[in-house]
């Protein structure tokens, strides 16, 4: 039953010649049958979920390289964790070159699907949902790859996450495209990561649509080189329902795209409509930190070619209503605390700075001022994120 590791490695690196398909039906004993299939799968194998609802009581995990877990569709094959009693996530992946596609994870007690240290992972056409909608008792992250390189998240749907619908952390070489995230605290969050493209997603009815953050005191610090382009970021006005204590609990409702403490972020050609605090917000990390690697400001940010609808008409921060009133009833589409460095606004829309000058200064010190568009002479282009071709071909 157990092949030698050398043979397994050979299979993982070459096109598998003897890949098996293990088909799992829902019903009695699904927890054990499915988990056993995930344990006994060999590199190159597929574990196929039949259509139906799989009632699960514990988290599932996959630790074999090169395995595909595939369902009959995001509305057809449902891993239902409503009665989950153990584990911190619904499905945990810790191996490389894994493909997850065409199934749903519902009502996980912790995170929905987490992959840790799992390089070259593909998340495709999945649904991760807390079916009761926004609720602080929901799990934190829907789709949660962390500490890995080469990550593709596409064509998936996440709803109800009490932190971020799609969260990529401490990783590099990332593409998040064509997803639909709604009624999460953060729709999509790229944190402490480098070389990421967030494109052609629909983020709506979250508290904040798309966040690009960097935080101190983590193994990987210094996030940047992030492209946020051609996304529809619409009506992200859901009250913040994150449990207190989490960093996203401080995101104002009505935030479109938010950039905090990151270097090299390009916000290009997005449609930003009806986000009631701000379409694009830049802020510094304001909590105390001792991490010498960490810089708390947004640096080298370019904003260009975006389409702006109504918004800024009901800012969700202290003094925001007064500021909006003073500016004619709504904040301009772009808002910064003033702590940015080398900000390039090439869109012909008003932008306001709160005029803070030192990190950690209270908002009561704000000296609001309008910013002029800046057509930067030379804006460093981000080089495109290229994933190993093998990742795309796996989906064909």
């Amino acid at each position: 039953m157990i092949r030698l590791t050398a043979a397994a490695l050979a299979l993982a690196s070459a096109a598998p010649a003897f890949a098996d398909t293990h088909t799992i039906a829902p019903g009695e004993g699904a927890q054990e049958r499915l988990q056993e299939a995930l344990i006994l799968a060999e590199p190159g194998d597929e574990v196929v979920l039949e259509a139906g609802r799989f009632e699960l009581t514990d988290g599932l995990s996959l630790d074999v390289d090169g395995v595909t877990l595939r369902g009959a569709g995001a509305d057809a094959s449902i891993l239902d964790f409503t009665n989950q009693a153990g584990s911190g996530e619904g499905l945990l992946v810790t191996s490389d070159k894994v493909t997850l596609r065409d199934f749903a994870v519902e009502n996980a007690k912790g995170d929905g699907i987490k992959s840790k240290g799992a390089d070259q992972i593909v998340y495709s056409a999945l649904r991760v949902e807390w079916t009761n909608g926004p609720d602080p008792a929901n799990g934190a992250y829907g789709i949660y790859p962390v500490e890995a390189s080469n990550i593709l998240v596409q064509d998936s749907y996440v709803r109800g996450a009490s932190d971020a619908g799609i969260y990529v952390g401490q990783s590099e070489n990332i593409i998040v495209r064509g997803n639909f995230v709604e009624e999460n605290v953060a729709g999509i969050e790229i944190e402490n990561s480098n070389r990421a493209e967030v494109t052609e997603n629909l983020a709506t009815r979250n508290t904040g649509g798309i966040l690009v953050f960097d935080l101190p005191n983590l193994p990987k610090v210094g996030g940047g080189d992030v492209l946020v382009a051609r996304n529809a970021v619409i009506g992200n006005n859901t009250d913040n329902f994150a449990p207190e204590g989490n960093i996203v609990a401080s995101v104002p409702a009505g935030t479109g795209i938010m950039i905090m403490a990151n270097t090299g972020v390009q916000v290009l050609e997005n449609a930003l409509i009806n986000n009631q605090t701000s379409h694009v917000m830049l802020i510094a990390y304001t909590q105390d930190f001792t991490d010498e690697r960490f810089q708390p400001r947004p640096v080298n940010v370019t904003i260009r070619g975006n389409v702006y609808g109504a918004g800024g008409n009901s800012p969700d921060f202290t003094g925001g209503d007064l500021l909006a009133a003073a500016m004619g009833g709504a904040l301009p589409p772009i808002l910064t605390d003033g702590l940015h460095r080398n900000l390039s606004i090439e869109d012909a829309v008003p932008a306001v700075s709160l005029g803070l000058t030192t990190v950690g200064q209270p908002l009561t010190d704000a000296k609001p001022e309008m910013l002029k568009p800046v057509i930067a002479g030379k804006v460093a282009q981000l080089s495109p994120v290229v994933l190993p071709a093998e990742m795309e071909t796996r989906l064909k």
Partner: protein, 339 residues
Amino acid sequence: MRAALFALCASAAALAGSIAVGATVMDEPAVNDDAILQGMPRALSEYAFFIDGARQLPNYEVVRYELNTPLYSDGADKLRFVYLPEGTKLVSEGDGLLEFPVGSAIVKTFAFGSGENRQLIETRVLLHRSDGWLALPYRWNTEQTEATLALAGARIALTWPDGEEISYRIPNKNQCKACHSKQGAVIPIGPKARNLDRDWLTMMEEERRLWSVPQGADTLPVWSNAEQFETAALARAYLDVNCAHCHQPGGGASNSGLDLRWEQDDPVKLGLRKPPVAAGRGAGGHAVSIAPGDPSASIMVYRMSSTEAGIAMPELGRSTNDHDGIAVVRKWIEEMPTS
């Protein structure tokens, strides 16, 4: 003693094929090295780690050991054993983990109840093969005659001695690895020299099963004599044993930035005033992992005190709260200077 018993059994077995020793029938006197080195035995008895499984009487060359500070697993009694192939020795790596030769095994049985009422629930084995360690869980039958491989794990309804009903989780093979893992490879986590009794280590050295007793051996507090140790030492040892297998660089929770190993002395890495990253509702409304002086405002205590999936820490291995452990960590945080 063990050697003498073995010699008796072996000679008798040679005559009769099997022999009764007291109430014990033994037909395979030697531990099955092949089962340790390859395959995936469906039954625990195939290894022959025990001459009497139900009574947990170890076979020849299978040696019982205990830990100064043990890991909490729903209050289960744990019977721990190591097996070393003939002629091999443990090597000490400073005060760290003992290095086990290929072909050795670590065996841990989880039991509830005492005396006649003791029920063995599961036995977990860690097998050191030429390509690394393999962790497998075996579930005991109700007759206590055999334990069989439970690759996908299981949930078992148990009643604690105090009457509390608990849903005990036998981990699946991958969940074994979730704790027994560093840089993605399975490793033992319990038998570190610093957490082993000096007398036991000396005995192993005298029996030529250990090269030498290392420096730093036996430094963790003996949890069963907790009153003789300082709170900080108890708490740090508790975190080292119960949390640090994940919360360390290369461990399963490395992305949290928490490092709870005994040797870590950076306050932020230990969680002092450290904001959470991916705690979700596990933060419980608190801003930092440890708020010095204020255990009730500390995420660490909140998560230790919950049994709910998504909040409870550790994520695996317990469905009840360890009241003694919580009390020690609370006291440690309470006694911390607040400025």
